[in-house]
């Protein structure tokens, strides 16, 4: 029985996966809190999906996956931001369509250009077998960057999210901090793609942070507990993936989601906010662009 539980951890590729996940947990935990706080869940999801054709290209042409992924992700993020400046409504249609276009492009590239159709599952949902040494290094580097950026920009990110309209008057005179945040999220998500795949990569970032937020009410404890939960769910998810032979991205998503729902059902409602009736929250995806001063 000991063998069945701990057996998988003896395998070298599993160990590499574990190291990767543990390195990722710092970045994913930290950035996860910012994603949840600033309402960037959809943006993160979009970055992951937009990376898909890049991954296919990289896979087909033989260059490093993260480069291809990051390239398309930044292209998407930049394009989205540029396009959204012009129009207010129709923004979510455009985003949804560009995303699905990217997926369709990836599918066509994979099945008809590179004939790598069998790799689609790996690219979409992750695989432990493709995690190489450089992936682990990349994960460590992005997590370090996330840590440094939080120390430097954290206060600005917090204040801007709290009150975007007053950001300028508080002294946040340009969009640099938010650009850094969006870029960092793209980078971190890219580093997690090999393990979790393009579609479900955001779960590693968003779900643990959302779960811990149900119990914690201040920033620093929230950040620390998120990192811990990402690590725990990542490790457990990998184990589950090996045991069930399901792709790691799917296993982690399922696990994290189940824990979130459990947490939601079991916490006491006394921790909920003030008794004001909840209003319909606007589309928070648009809020990523609110901090940018209009005449920037």
């Amino acid at each position: 029985m000991f063998e069945t539980i701990f057996g998988p951890f003896a395998l070298p590729f599993v160990q590499r996966g574990l190291t990767e996940v543990l390195f990722l947990s710092v970045g994913a935990g930290l950035l996860g809190t910012w994603i949840v706080l600033r309402g960037l869940a959809f943006y993160s999801h979009a970055v992951g999906m937009a990376a898909f054709p890049g991954l296919v290209l990289a896979d087909g042409l033989g260059f490093a996956a993260p480069i291809g992924a990051f390239f398309t992700a930044v292209f998407f993020a930049g394009g989205l931001e540029r396009l959204s400046r012009g129009k207010k409504s129709g923004h979510d249609s455009l985003t949804a369509l560009v995303l699905v276009g990217m997926v369709a492009l990836g599918v066509i590239l994979a099945s008809d250009v590179f004939f790598s159709g069998s790799n689609i599952d790996t690219l979409l949902f992750g695989s432990l077998l493709v995690i190489g040494r450089w992936d682990v290094v990349f994960a460590a580097a992005t997590s370090a960057a996330a840590l440094v950026a939080t120390l430097v920009f954290g206060r600005v990110w917090l204040a801007t999210g709290f009150d975007p309209e007053s950001a300028r008057s508080l002294g946040v005179r340009h969009g640099l901090p938010d650009i850094v945040l969006l870029l960092l999220i793209s980078l971190s998500i890219t580093s997690a793609l090999s393990a979790a795949g393009a579609i479900l990569v955001t779960t590693l970032f968003v779900v643990p942070a959302a779960t811990t937020r149900l119990f914690v009410r201040r920033m620093l404890p929230w950040q620390l507990s998120s990192i811990a939960l990402v690590a725990a769910e990542g490790v457990l998810g990998l184990w589950l993936s090996v045991q069930t032979n399901a792709p790691p991205g799917a296993a982690i998503a399922m696990l994290a989601g189940a824990i979130f729902i459990l947490a939601l059902l079991t916490r006491r409602s006394s921790l909920a906010g003030p008794p004001e009736p909840p209003s319909i929250q606007g589309d928070q995806n648009r809020k990523i662009l609110a901090p940018f001063p209009k005449n920037y």
Partner: protein, 294 residues
């Protein structure tokens, strides 16, 4: 050359499937775009996935799976009301990922038969006559429902807060749209797959919106554009050998992007020429009238 593809049974059935999903997607899509539900539609499609997988694995009809999926999703979203700290969008994203992940675990585990890939990417060239029959029935249900609900949906979408005073019911509209999106997803998923379904649900409608201002003509135009784009996709698939579902979805997206660019170009040119009023190709205002809180 133009008629060659349609001599084969496979392509004929694919054409029928594309026609059905185009009609349904285009018409319903106008409401999805009007209510700004693109993200929700995508989420709902993903949330249905495990239901579809389970139905497929156990031999139950896909429709039943979709029905279970919609119910589970609705229950989940209701429970999520208990988490005000993390925002509704985030909560929805969490539950969708969990459900979708579960579906993928089921679909891709070695114990499952291969070809569940078809649920993800569609299998437009593999639809059977039975599939078509089911899709046709669902399409009729959706289109008839839209006809009956037209005025309710219009009133609620235009101004939710005053809708009650004129006899419309926002909750009915919400639930109706939820169910209809579920049905449309079942129709479209056979051809496009779960990951690409959003293309037909949003693309043609968003394109039509750039060209036409009133809802009824928009729905007709959207359906037309959807079917045309779908046919183009099938041609592409036939002659270039590209994957069927992805080609159809791709054509719908490209059509939208082209229309958007032309629209933007015309508006820019009009601004440069100093004109003030938008012409027929003017950009249709959103449901909130593009109003800002001043």
């Amino acid at each position: 050359m133009v008629f060659e593809p349609w001599t084969q049974g496979i392509m004929q059935r694919a054409l029928a499937e594309v026609a059905l999903l185009g009609l349904v997607g285009g018409a319903l899509g106008c409401w999805i775009v009007f209510y700004e539900l693109s993200y929700s539609a995508e989420s709902l499609a993903h949330a249905l996935f495990p239901g579809l997988v389970i139905a497929s694995l156990t031999g139950l009809p896909l429709l039943l799976g979709a029905g279970i999926g919609v119910t589970v999703a609705a229950v989940a979203v209701a429970i999520l009301g208990r988490a005000p700290e993390i925002g509704r969008d985030t909560s929805v994203a969490v539950v969708i990922s969990a459900l979708f992940g579960f579906g993928v675990v089921l679909a891709l585990s070695p114990a499952s038969p291969p070809g569940l890939q078809g649920l993800l990417f569609g299998d437009v060239l593999g639809v059977s006559n039975l599939d078509l029959l089911l899709a046709a029935v669902l399409a009729v249900v959706v289109l008839v429902s839209l006809r009956l609900l037209h005025r309710q949906l219009l009133a609620v979408g235009f101004d939710r807060t005053t809708a009650r005073s004129i006899g419309a019911d926002p909750r009915l509209a919400d639930i109706a749209l939820l169910v209809l999106i579920g049905l449309a997803t079942v129709v479209a998923v056979q051809g496009l797959g779960n990951l690409l379904v959003v293309a037909v649900l949003v693309g043609p409608a968003a394109t039509a919106r750039l060209l036409v201002r009133r809802m009824a003509p928009m729905m007709v135009l959207a359906s037309l554009l959807a079917v045309l784009a779908g046919v183009a996709g099938l041609y592409l698939s036939y002659y270039a050998g590209t994957a069927g579902g992805a080609s159809v979805a791709g054509c719908m997206v490209v059509l939208y992007l082209i229309s958007l660019s032309v629209n933007a170009l015309l508006r820019w040119k009009r601004k440069a020429d100093g004109a003030t009023a938008p012409g027929a190709l003017g950009f249709a205002p959103g449901p909130s009238g593009g109003g800002r809180d001043v």
